[in-house]
Symmetry: C2
Subunit: 556 residues, 2 copies
């Protein structure tokens, strides 16, 4: 069987200006990056403002296995299928991070016959957006320590600095460091640490900014730390916001690429819906809505993380309202949620599928709580049996939710045609009535409790007193109105990655909260989740290399 | 007076394929990055191998003031002037680092009417080469700590790890850190630190690699540390070389841009001849030699650093032999070397110029020691007087060296036409007989002593016993044949930045030596020079931002 990389390499790509033409983007709005990638100029983006919007379709999923259940693949397959049915569709994806590429999960360009291309380039440096974000993050960090070094005019308390450094790599050794050691020339020693770039507030600012002016304003509001008496000190106080915006200027233009079947796809902004808000950029989503009748976008991991943040953070901030929602599942993952060991997922087990459906059911019901009509996309694996598939269909009937068997991985657009028809039906049905889960005026703790109760089915949230005090301080400082971005394991509704299925009555243990004043949300870290992943015993990097013709091998 | 940025913005750039056409690079060999930058494919580079080489001209300088004396500007002006005289000339420059852009020195795209464009893009992310190098460096670092974490099969001694992390930023707080703090999940605590990306061995490997295969082989030879019993452990032992090569693959293709006057310029590889070898890439220089009759390239800082390393490291490794050498000076800098305070450099002072000429004279004589015919380019400032200029001419006469007054900063190509004629005369004279300063078989300490004596005019080199022991170990391990790369202040022939002019009898204090087995040299750190710079009290970043139209302001 051909690997994703082999399928990608065998494809004949079309020049990016042809793809742009399909999407009604004129050639003079393109900044080419090689032959098959281009940035769409912000001037063109801004000029589309008066046009009507297409329909937004959100693809999300159940709690995944380590390999993922194919949300990106489904997003691509659905977009291709819509185009093949004659609907003008665009796809809006998130950019891959180097961390998973070299770690466990691999790239993020879809798979099989539902991929965006050029696969190797998108998965590695693409158009440099994440590098720009990393540089802006670390310029601010350098200016923080430099400010201390030269006399600390603003009175930053070195113990109250909250701005961390960033690197787009899984590197656990950088989670917690002592910096500025070695004496006077190196500055004032202090505790510090690195997050992976996708978890940087600069990534969130980048993804949520409406335009360049909003980007710079948000960057300026970033709080880097506090004075001894609790006064917030911002990037603007350090005069860092302008240079950060300059570093991000070119990156803010969305990236256009193509699918294997030639559909236009905008791939822009950050993944990692577990530790970040994890949505593609507002600018890209809005542009796609101006250019297409249907826009298919994805939210990461399970709907408890990705979709909840997509809806409560991104849609709220950008005034977006999805018209339909696709929840992706596989019988393999349902069996896992039904208690089957990873090694036995290939064997028929209808009872386990039926038990595991509890996970799917809750995600579907959760999406319905947001006012979204839902269809389930069941990604077919070769080992799936009719009885297993029938069990899924049966279980969804009481919810009024169709289950569509999808084979786009093997068959491309044709394998998602039924899904496309079902999605069009939902859109045309006009039953969507999107509302965020909570109102802005609810307290920060109240918002966390609402998500925990309504989405996770937790009995309660355990908020240690120092964390509660921090939430209180954020509210006192005028940030009570922002939404919350909960960082939590992607494997369970709870904060415990081993609690599969649809756990009830668990306690969500908050470990820390961080104010992202520029992004406009409060990050609440629950359980053991890390804002800097580690590499596995045998990182994917060990298998990556160049062949004799200089082509990249081992990326997946 | 127009700033560099204003002049750059006012220019009408030509599409990069027109510039390529001038250089006989076909459009299908271009990978465009926007409209005005392109990478030249490695396939095309490889296909040129059989063609004859043009003449290589090295532009170097006296020990500079903090602002630089205009080597890049002169390189650009000379290339433009050669083209305007009907010679097919190409320019081969180094890429700017973000460190100086946000720190003190500003960008590295020339100045006035002798610039490469697009100025903002080249100075910020350009085509992402340095980001790729940073990522490759830090992937290896993450794999080192990950190896310790998962059981340390190779037996790395955590105290003997020599691989450091990298960031393309001036950030003194990262020079010396304790990493992997925080308990079991974060790994084994150890001392670590960051260098600026240009000082990474990956940068040197990138610049010295002949092709992709050589790149990967060199990456594999990088030594990350030693076992308790002194066994070297390499990037290949960690299986990191393939993924590092994959990260660098696209970056290895040289970048084509244009000057203000439309000359083709290849801008590729690393600056910082003080702490690194600091040369542009071998691949770019070789390609330029295949495409042009005359190639003008630069080496950083004074000829004691940049040119010495260019000749002893790069030319030796790549089999290059310059035909002529330009030494750049300004009367302002000569006055500084003659003891005048920075605030008084604008006032005529012929006696000070005459004293400061000692610095210029030694650099010219040093270049002659390498067998190169030399011309002095005197970059004119408005305050320069006839008497000062005459003093320089007079002093160079006994060396047989012409002094050419240059005004390309104000006048573009026309201002460097005399210099171009003088350079063509040197090339046609055929007197060049390049020889490196020392032979490969000389001991490592002997090589350092040779450079110190012949180039720096030091009385001796102080090598502390632990450093001497390290040199001995490198030789015992089979690395005695490699050249040395001395890291030293750029402001003086000595390791003391305040010793201006032409000091004699000083002692060169070695602080440390590092083996770069992949690059193929030994770094010898002399005096207080840091492999990670710091930001000044008011970094240039404070003045950088976006204007109302989203254009970048404050870059210089």
């Amino acid at each position: 069987m051909a690997t994703d990389l082999e399928i990608a390499r065998a494809a004949t790509l079309r020049p990016i200006r042809e793809i742009a033409e399909k999407a009604a983007i004129p050639e003079d709005a393109l900044e080419p990056y090689g032959r098959y990638k281009a940035k769409v100029s912000l001037d063109f983006v801004n000029a589309q403002k008066g046009r009507p919007d297409g329909a937004l379709v959100l693809v999300t999923g159940i709690n995944p296995t380590a390999a993922g259940e194919g949300k990106t693949t489904t997003t691509v397959g659905l977009g291709d299928a819509l185009n093949s049915l004659g609907t003008r569709a665009m796809i809006a994806l998130r950019e891959p991070s180097l961390g998973p590429c070299f770690g466990v999960k691999g790239g993020a360009t879809g798979g099989g016959h539902a991929q965006v291309l050029p696969m190797e380039e998108i998965n590695l440096h693409f158009t440099g957006d994440f590098h720009a974000i990393t540089a802006a993050n670390n310029l601010l960090a350098a200016m923080v320590d430099n400010h201390l070094y030269w006399g600390n005019e603003l009175g930053l308390d070195a113990r109250r600095i909250v701005w961390r450094r960033a690197v787009d790599m899984n590197d656990r050794a950088l989670r917690s460091i002592n910096a500025a050691l070695g004496g006077v020339p190196n500055g004032f020693p202090r505790e510090d640490g690195f997050d992976i770039t996708v978890a940087s507030e600069v990534m969130a600012v980048f993804c949520l900014a409406k335009d360049l002016a909003d980007l710079q304003a948000r960057l300026g509001r970033i709080i880097v730390g506090y004075s001894r008496d609790g006064r917030a000190i911002t990037a603007r106080d350090l005069k860092a916001d302008g240079a950060m915006a300059a570093l991000l200027r070119d990156a803010l233009a969305p990236n256009l690429v193509q699918t294997l079947e030639g559909s236009p796809a905008l791939v822009h902004g950050g993944p990692f819906a577990n530790i970040a808000h994890g949505c593609n950029s507002v600018i890209a989503t809005r542009l796609a809505l101006k250019l297409a009748d249907v826009v298919v976008t994805e939210a990461g991991f399970g709907a408890d993380l990705g979709a909840e943040k997509f809806l409560d953070i991104k849609c709220r901030a950008a005034g977006l309202a999805p018209k339909a929602c696709v929840v992706v599942a596989t019988t393999r993952a349902l069996k896992l949620h039904g208690g089957v060991a990873k090694s036995a997922l290939g064997t028929e087990d209808v009872a386990a599928v039926t038990r595991g459906i509890s996970n799917l059911r809750r995600h579907v019901q959760n999406m319905q709580k947001f006012g979204l009509p839902v269809v389930v996309a069941l990604n077919k694996f070769t080992g799936d049996t009719e009885a297993e598939i029938a069990a899924v269909r049966e279980a969804m009937r009481p919810l009024g939710t169709k289950v569509i068997l999808c084979t786009h991985w093997a068959d491309g657009a044709a394998g998602a045609a039924d899904l496309a028809r079902a999605v069009l039906e939902l859109i045309e049905g006009g039953s969507a009535a999107f509302e965020p889960l909570y109102q802005s005026h609810v307290s920060l703790a109240g918002k966390i409790e609402t998500v925990a109760r309504e989405i996770y089915h937790a009995a309660s949230v355990a908020i240690p007193p120092p964390v509660a005090a921090k939430l209180k301080r954020f509210e006192d400082a005028g940030f009570g109105d922002v939404p919350v971005c909960i960082a939590k394991t992607q494997y369970s509704f709870s904060a415990d990655p081993t609690l599969l299925g649809a756990p009830e009555g668990h306690v969500l243990p908050l470990r820390d909260v961080r104010l992202s004043a520029g992004a406009g949300f409060v990050v609440a870290i629950a359980g053991e989740i890390m804002t800097m992943p580690g590499l596995p015993r045998h990182p994917a990097a060990e298998g990556i290399g160049l062949d004799a013709e200089g082509r990249i091998e081992g990326l997946f």
